[in-house]
Structures are given as structure tokens and as C-alpha cells.
């Protein structure tokens, strides 16, 4: 157990992740992530739905060829240290959006530029598989709704984090263990349980292990896909509290997908409303909630309990 006592500060090649750098302080005009006209379709597409105004905004399925458009011309900017909420009903394309940014889904058309990547002017969807892996492992973290997707249930929690660290070219076992214990401590998982497999944890704990795994390489961008759905209220509050605290401490930019407006109100600085694969409204979170412009957003907000 000697390696457990290795202090993270012994590794001076890296800064401690919780060194209090506040990225929100520095005003940067350059967005961290620029997404332009993202399209994702299931089906062949036809003349009607491929054309600019061929399809009504009220449907996402082409009446002519039955192609389903999961995303239609989605464009937005995400600035460093900012939390952007994405709301919408089931099937509106929220998850497709974050999954395609994490390269889990292949997009049909569209561009995305990541400012933190050395090739800032290259569309990240056109990178080679190796480069995509680099972007995914070094610059992004993803937290899925279902921990089964993000974690290896039979591998210890520290092993899960080490997996992400290994992917980012770390090989020093002592360093990885020290980092894992630091990260798990940050999400309030007792260090004594770091060698237990996540399958023995409760849902809320699994979700917290997933968050610490996503943060393992200190990415500038964190993608959260319905993190609190399926958790009970008190655990939900704990996870949300954790996300907010981490955002304050680390200054990570986040894309928070949720159909729960309460979650969005608590977390997001800005909010984007999606419907039928389209972004129908964007604005400050309180403006979206108190003064929604689009008919669908009004319906959504007035359905809030």
C-alpha cells in the first residue's frame, strides 16, 4: 500500500487540478467550441428534405422519404468557463448533439472547431481517427445518463480513472493512483473504496465516479448528458451541487443536456431550446424561463411544476 501515500505534488510536471485557477475571470472573446450547421439524418434523404426550407419546422421526419432528421442545422458557440444548457423534449436531438461532439455518433454534415486543440481551424469531424481519439481523451469529458456506458462496471473505480489517464499517455502507476484518489476525494467517494468496482456502488455514487473519470485529464470541455435523470431528489441535489462546485473551481466549460428545467435553472448560464432537431431559441437562462419567445418554449416553461 506504499504507493497510496504518494502525494500528487510530487509530480511537478503537472499542476494540481484544483489549484484555484479561475478561467471565468479572463475575458476571452474566442469561443472554446464553435459548432456550425450540424446535421444528422437517419435515412437516405431526398430532394425535399435536403433543401433549405423543404421541411416544416413542426416535424423531424420527411413526409416524402421518411428520413428522420435528428439534428438540423444546429449552430452555437460555447465560451470558456461557461455552462450552456440544452433543453427539449425526448427526441429533440439533445443527446445526438452531445454524442456527436464526443464522436459517439457520426454526423452527416457540419463543422465544429475546438479552440483548445492545436489545430484550431480544422473541423474536428474531419480529423483522422487517431486525432479524434486525442481530442476525446485529452480535451473532452463525457458523463452519460447511464453509468453503464461511461464506466467499466467490473473494474475498480481507480482503474476506471486510470483507463482515461492511460489513454492520455500516462504510465506512472503511482501518479495515476494519486490522481485517482484525489479525484475520487473531490467527488466525495471515500478513498477506502477506490479499489471497489462501480457495480457495488449506488446510482449516485456511480454517477460521481463517472464525473471524476470525465475530469481525469482536466479537459476544458465537459459534456453532461442527462446526468441526474434517474437519481432521487437528494442524490440529484448532491450531484448538481458537485457539478457547480467543480465548475467554479476548475472553470470547465460545460454542455448540460437535460429535459428538467429545474436542473437547467440551477446550472446553466445560457440555455438553448431544441425541438425536432432544430435550435428554436437561445438566451440567458432566466430570460428563457421568464420571457420565452417561441410558442413551444412557452408551452414547455408553463408546464413547469
Amino acid at each position: 500500500m506504499e504507493h497510496l501515500q504518494i502525494n500528487i505534488n510530487d509530480f511537478d510536471d503537472e499542476l494540481s487540478p484544483f489549484d484555484g485557477i479561475d478561467h471565468t475571470l479572463t475575458w476571452k472573446d474566442e469561443p472554446l467550441l464553435k459548432v456550425r450547421r450540424l446535421n444528422k439524418k437517419y435515412g437516405s434523404g431526398c430532394m425535399l428534405c435536403e433543401s433549405e426550407h423543404g421541411m416544416s419546422e413542426k416535424v423531424n421526419r420527411c413526409p416524402n422519404c421518411a428520413t428522420v432528421w435528428a439534428m438540423r442545422n444546429v449552430s452555437f458557440d460555447l465560451y470558456p468557463g461557461e455552462i450552456l444548457g440544452i433543453v427539449g423534449e425526448s427526441g429533440s436531438g439533445k443527446s445526438t448533439l452531445v454524442k456527436s461532439l464526443y464522436f459517439d455518433e457520426v454526423v452527416d454534415q457540419g463543422e465544429a472547431y475546438l479552440q483548445a486543440y492545436e489545430k484550431q481551424d480544422t473541423n474536428i469531424f474531419e480529423l483522422s481517427n487517431q486525432q479524434k481519439r486525442f481530442v476525446r481523451n485529452h480535451l473532452m469529458g463525457m458523463v452519460y445518463q447511464n453509468p453503464l456506458l461511461g464506466l467499466r462496471m467490473n473494474v475498480s473505480s481507480s482503474g476506471n480513472i486510470a483507463e482515461k489517464l492511460l489513454a492520455a499517455d500516462h504510465r506512472h502507476v503511482g501518479f495515476m493512483r494519486a490522481r485517482a484518489s484525489e479525484l475520487l476525494n473531490q467527488v466525495e467517494i471515500p478513498i477506502s473504496r477506490m479499489d471497489e468496482a462501480p457495480k457495488r456502488f449506488s446510482g449516485g455514487m456511480q454517477q460521481r465516479v463517472q464525473i471524476s473519470k470525465a475530469l481525469a485529464n482536466r479537459p476544458p470541455l465537459l459534456l453532461l448528458d442527462e446526468v441526474t435523470t434517474g437519481l432521487d431528489l437528494s442524490v440529484q441535489a448532491k450531484v448538481l451541487d458537485l457539478i457547480r462546485r467543480l465548475q467554479r473551481q476548475l472553470g470547465v466549460a460545460m454542455l448540460v443536456v437535460s429535459h428538467d428545467l429545474g436542473v437547467i435553472r440551477m446550472l446553466a448560464d445560457r440555455t438553448m431550446v431544441m425541438r425536432n432537431g432544430r435550435v428554436i431559441e437561445q438566451g440567458m437562462t432566466d430570460q428563457i424561463l421568464e420571457d420565452p419567445q417561441h410558442a413551444y418554449t412557452q408551452l414547455l416553461v408553463h408546464s413547469l411544476l
Binding site: G20, D22, T24, L25, W27, D77, Y79, E82, A237, K238, L240, D241, R244, R248, M266, D269, R270, Q282, G283, M284, D286, Q287, E290, D291, Q293, H294, A295, Q298, L299, H302
Partner: protein, 235 residues
């Protein structure tokens, strides 16, 4: 400091039989730097609407709100992008509403300190300042580490005021901040507002109590029912 030019706001409620609600007819006024502008008029005339338009909780329908920001100089808050609004909210403009709306399960001290730490003040320094502020507002020391959801209305409101004043904003928007406070705390709040004014904070405020408004306001805009009141209109 702030020039409101032909501001009006209406709501198109698509789901309620296409209701068209216009709470605020065209209004224009200027506020000089370091002055307190009071808004007066009967309820339902759009006083809060003006404040919410300035804070961009409401998207102004017409007109412009020119604000002298420290970063970009003159900027129209009605058309500024969200990124700019976010920066202004974090650094320059504070808003005190009638109710406290905060994240559950965060202690009172942390809620106020968050405003300072977001600007880069270290946590220890921030908490020290917060404690001084809470002491001045006579919030009992034993509840500082409790969750605000358990507070009484007056205590929540004092926390709300502390949160807005701690960051020494350039522009402070007050929406009946003293409505639920007792006489003694009201006096403390008034003192704090006077102090903020001395430090150069520009303020626009709605007070229910005209006696209090007179004590602090340099000027008032009275919204005239005959001009500004607009009943619900169905289009």
C-alpha cells in the same frame, strides 16, 4: 450612466389564445452616474418590467437601453449578446428581487461568498467580508451556516441584499428590497444603500413605501396610469 430610450415591452402568449399583453408602454429616462432613480406608480404599471428589461430577464420589445460599461463603454443592453450580458451580470450589474432564489443545500455564507469568489477573491477573504456584511444586516450568527430554505422571509431577503451589495456593483437594480423587513433592518438597508451610493453605485429602485423612497432617491420617474397603464389586450 444609463439612458433608456423609447423602451417598451409586450408579451405574445402563444399558448393562451394568442394573448397580447403590454405591461409597459414607451418610456424614456436618463440616470446620471452615482444617482438613485426611483420608480413610482401603482402596481401593475410596469416598474418591475423596466428593471427586468435592464437586467435582460425580459427581452425588450422596442427601444434601447444605453449603459456605460467599464469594459466596452456605451452598450445597448437591449441588443447586447448573451456573452456580454453574462459578463455584466457577473461584474457590474446586480439585481435585488423580492424573493431569494438560490441553489438548494448551499449555506448562507457560501451563497454570498460565491459572488466574490466568481471574481477571483480567495475563499478565506470572501468569507471574512461576507461575515462583516451579514453582521451589519443583523442576520443571527447561528444561522450563517444553515441552508436559506429554512430561513424566514425577512432573513432570506437580508441574504438577498447582502448578495447584491457585497460585490459593489456599478449598477444596482432594486425591486422592492425592503418589502418584508422590519423597521430596524430597513434602516440598516437604507444605510447600506447610502454607503453604496457614496462609493459611486448608480441605482434604480422600486419602493413600495414612498417615505423610504424620498430618503434615498435623487429623482423619481412616476409612471402615469393614463399614459402607461395598459389593460390586457386581446389581438
Amino acid at each position: 450612466m444609463i439612458q433608456i430610450d423609447g423602451l417598451s415591452k409586450w408579451f405574445d402568449l402563444h399558448i393562451a389564445n394568442q394573448m397580447h399583453v403590454k405591461p409597459l408602454r414607451t418610456i424614456s429616462f436618463d440616470v446620471e452616474p452615482g444617482k438613485f432613480m426611483g420608480l413610482a406608480g401603482p402596481s401593475g404599471i410596469g416598474k418591475s418590467t423596466i428593471l427586468k428589461c435592464i437586467y435582460r430577464t425580459y427581452l425588450p420589445s422596442e427601444g434601447s437601453i444605453w449603459y456605460d460599461s467599464a469594459v466596452w463603454g456605451k452598450i445597448d443592453l437591449a441588443t447586447a449578446n448573451e456573452r456580454q450580458i453574462l459578463h455584466l451580470r457577473r461584474n457590474e450589474i446586480s439585481y435585488i428581487s423580492q424573493f431569494l432564489r438560490v441553489i438548494p443545500r448551499v449555506t448562507a455564507v457560501d451563497i454570498v461568498a460565491e459572488r466574490l469568489t466568481a471574481r477571483g477573491v480567495t475563499r478565506a477573504d470572501a468569507i471574512e467580508q461576507v461575515k462583516l456584511m451579514l453582521q451589519r444586516l443583523a442576520l443571527p450568527e447561528k444561522i450563517w451556516d444553515a441552508f436559506p430554505a429554512t430561513f424566514s422571509g425577512g432573513e432570506q431577503q437580508r441574504l438577498n441584499i447582502a448578495r447584491a451589495l457585497i460585490s459593489q456593483p456599478r449598477l444596482l437594480l432594486l425591486d422592492e428590497p425592503t418589502a418584508s423587513l422590519d423597521y430596524r433592518t430597513k434602516t440598516v438597508v437604507l444605510d447600506l444603500l447610502h454607503e453604496a451610493k457614496k462609493n459611486g453605485t448608480t441605482m434604480i429602485g422600486v419602493f413600495h413605501d414612498l417615505e423610504w423612497l424620498k430618503q434615498i432617491a435623487d429623482d423619481t420617474v412616476t409612471l402615469d396610469p393614463s399614459v402607461h397603464a395598459a389593460p390586457l389586450q386581446q389581438v
